[in-house]
């Protein structure tokens, strides 16, 4: 399915592989724990590397590796879990990460605007309708009181 990136609908060309699946060629995204354990293997096999963060993951563990990482997926197991907002904020401001940060999981299209404000620039969603809605809600506000990270 398509994703939104930088407010455009594009084809997704990344593959997330579970911790018990073998590495594959191409653009591959893995969990943080797998990345921390198998950096060499993953770097050798995959052309481009992505890392998926769970809400409990500590962003600082990725700190030194960010130059090798092309995609960070911030996952939202439930839309009520807002830890991904702070993780993203830290990645953008404290670690100056400028690659793609993609929201995944069970978030709402109505959260896309706040997500973009903290620095998430790509959205993988559960349905075409959600994608369509998110493209609209990304423009919900023209003003803000807080400095932007996007």
């Amino acid at each position: 399915m398509k994703i939104i990136k930088d407010k455009q609908l594009i084809e997704n060309d990344w593959t997330f592989i579970e911790d018990d699946e073998s590495p594959i060629d191409g653009k591959v995204c893995v969990s943080l724990s797998r990345w921390l354990q198998n950096k060499a293997e993953i770097t050798e096999k995959s052309a481009q590397i992505g890392v998926r963060l769970a809400p409990t993951d500590d962003v600082s563990q990725l700190g030194n590796d960010l130059s090798q990482i092309n995609l960070i997926e911030v996952s939202f197991p439930a839309f009520t879990d807002g830890r991904g907002f702070s993780q993203t904020r830290l990645l953008r401001r404290q670690y100056d990460y400028s690659g793609e940060i993609r929201a995944t999981g069970n978030f709402m299209a109505d959260q896309a605007f706040y997500m973009s404000r903290v620095g998430i620039n790509a959205f993988a969603m559960n349905s075409e309708d959600d994608l369509k809605t998110a493209l609209t809600t990304l423009n919900d506000f023209s003003q803000a009181y807080q400095p932007s990270t996007n």
Partner: protein
């Protein structure tokens, strides 16, 4: 008071449009119940026992007469002719139709009001002293800082899905009238030895199921660091606050389980990373302060002769004056409390007719401003001494002059089982019953200063755990029972009340309260000793003995 800039207005207009769109998609089946629940709560809309309830923000409790008129017209056009002031200085409508809420929000936006973040797991309305700017015991007016915090919290993108709700209160006076020790963050405006204004920051206070007194995380924070420090606390809380159990999700639990020193270390580490990128400039503070300049007081000769004559001649007026007015920092002026605790009306409720009339009184007598208090009353803050008598007559005609501020019948009370879907027990009915038993004003005045707080469930919206007498409604196998606590306080000497004993039955609660008051009258060492002091001196035993002797 603060007037919206074009940017402020654009933001709330866009918020109305956003919520209108969300409501339409929900009604069209495109947004699920759980998702819409989160979205509507972020706009103050609860689904209650009978109908939705809409909570509207009153930033730091300050209203203009135009805003009060708008509340009146919303009562008339969208509700049943009345609304309810809450314990966090906000206002609630009990009967709006879900489909029409976007229209209500659009009307509110016309007068610079909104319902943003009045519920949900986000940063809520910032509250302060209801006598801010007009009391004689404050360092400086706290409201400009409240407005600065209001703007920072409003639509903050990072902290809208916190583990739980988050409340900030600001105080600048010697007597804490904003219960800052019972907020997630309490901000005390202080001066250091060099005479510079800064903030003492408290963290981890709270009421509800587990009442906790906040602890000092920073004894003196420079003015320019206010927002970066708050942001650092929020970020630590958002990342580390518990999300596995909603009853353990407030920051007070994180502070307790992690330890204050460790939390301070985490906050300071984060703060060092961000403090230089979001300074609060002097220019910004001064600009906001320029919205809170003192009104055009007439520094008269402070001639009290007519007032003194009126006090001498009219006992009813004197009674009201003694209880329902307070000293003003300007000679020749008085703070006037508008009691929303008339015996025959639910605590905190007011009708559209009263609101409209009050707006006019505010314009005539108090520079067009009205304040809401934590004890569900209102204040006309700037009344000239020679006009106080006339104002009293007009308030009395509106049934807004019950002379009971600070007394037993000035109870704070949640909506309870009659309206709220969370409640286990009724509270309005019990308040009424207590009122009926205590209809003798002389008895009321003899008892003197006392705060009774009553909540219909553990969530403690009426802050029963810090009531001098706290009453908590509980459900036992479908029957309403009431637990009593004594000795709580949200003032400077903050304390959580002690449980008196087993819960009492509904038909005994009013009598039990009367028993407690009788014991106080017997036990106090003089009429100077107020209820709370007596409880502290003699302990709860004598009260316990009396309440349970017959049951």
């Amino acid at each position: 008071m603060y007037q919206y800039t074009e940017k402020d207005q654009t933001l709330i207009n866009e918020r109305v449009a956003q919520y209108r769109e969300q409501t339409a998609r929900y009604l069209d089946g495109q947004i699920g119940e759980d998702e819409f629940r989160a979205l509507r709560l972020m706009n103050g809309l609860y689904i209650q026992t009978h109908a939705p309830m809409l909570r509207v923000a009153i930033p730091y409790g300050l209203l203009s007469s135009n805003q009060v008129r708008k509340l009146a017209s919303i009562c008339r056009d969208y509700d049943k002719g009345y609304c309810h002031f809450s314990t966090r200085q906000n206002v609630q409508f009990n009967w709006p139709a879900l489909e029409r809420v976007p229209d209500i929000l659009a009307e509110l936006a016309e007068v610079q009001m909104h319902a943003i973040q009045t519920s949900g797991n986000c940063m809520r309305n910032t509250t302060t002293d209801h006598l801010a700017g007009v009391c004689s015991d404050e360092l400086i007016d706290p409201r400009p800082y409240c407005e600065i915090i209001r703007q920072w919290t409003t639509l903050h993108p990072e902290f809208a899905y916190l583990p739980r709700k988050f409340k900030i209160a600001v105080s600048s006076s010697l007597t804490d009238r904003a219960a800052t020790q019972f907020h997630d963050i309490g901000v005390h405006i202080v001066k250091n030895d060099a005479g510079e204004i800064g903030f003492k920051i408290l963290v981890g206070g709270g009421l509800g199921r587990t009442p906790v007194i906040g602890q000092v995380i920073n004894p003196f924070l420079e003015q320019k660091h206010l927002l970066s420090y708050l942001e650092a606390i929020l970020r630590v809380y958002n990342l580390h606050g518990r999300r596995d159990n909603k009853y353990k999700a407030r920051i007070k639990i994180l502070v307790r389980e992690t330890g204050l020193d460790k939390i301070r270390e985490m906050v300071e580490k984060e703060w060092l990373n961000i403090r230089d990128e979001m300074p609060l400039s002097k220019e910004r503070v001064n600009y906001i302060k320029s919205h809170f300049t003192a009104p055009a007081y007439e520094i008269s000769s402070a001639d009290n002769s007519s007032l003194n004559q009126q006090l001498k001649e009219n006992a009813d007026f004197t009674r009201w004056y003694q209880h329902n007015t307070a000293t003003h920092k300007i000679d020749g002026y008085r703070n006037v409390f508008v009691s929303l605790k008339a015996p025959d009306s639910p605590p905190g409720d007011i009708t559209d007719v009263q609101l409209d009339a009050l707006a006019e009184l505010a314009e005539t007598y108090s520079f067009g401003e009205i304040r809401s208090t934590h004890r569900q009353n209102l204040v006309l803050a700037d009344v000239k001494l020679e006009a106080v008598f006339e104002l009293w007559q007009k308030l009395a005609a509106l049934k807004l002059a019950t002379p009971n501020i600070g007394t037993v019948t000035d109870m704070i009370c949640c909506p309870g089982l009659d309206f709220c879907s969370l409640a286990n027990a009724g509270s309005i009915g019990v308040a009424k019953e207590i009122n009926e038993k205590l209809d003798d004003l002389d008895y009321l005045y003899d008892i003197g200063e006392i705060k009774i707080n009553m909540s219909g469930c553990m969530n403690g919206c009426a802050h029963q755990s810090v009531g001098h007498i706290g009453i908590l409604g509980v459900d036992k196998k479908g029957v309403e029972w009431y637990q009593i606590t004594l000795g709580g306080s949200s003032e400077n000497e903050a304390a959580i009340g002690d449980r008196l004993g087993p819960a009492v039955r509904k038909d005994q609660i009013a009598d039990s309260i009367c028993d407690i008051l009788d014991v106080y009258l017997q036990q106090r060492d003089s009429s100077e000793e107020v209820f709370l002091q007596t409880v502290k001196r003699v302990g709860i035993e004598p009260f316990k003995a009396k309440v349970y002797e017959n049951h």
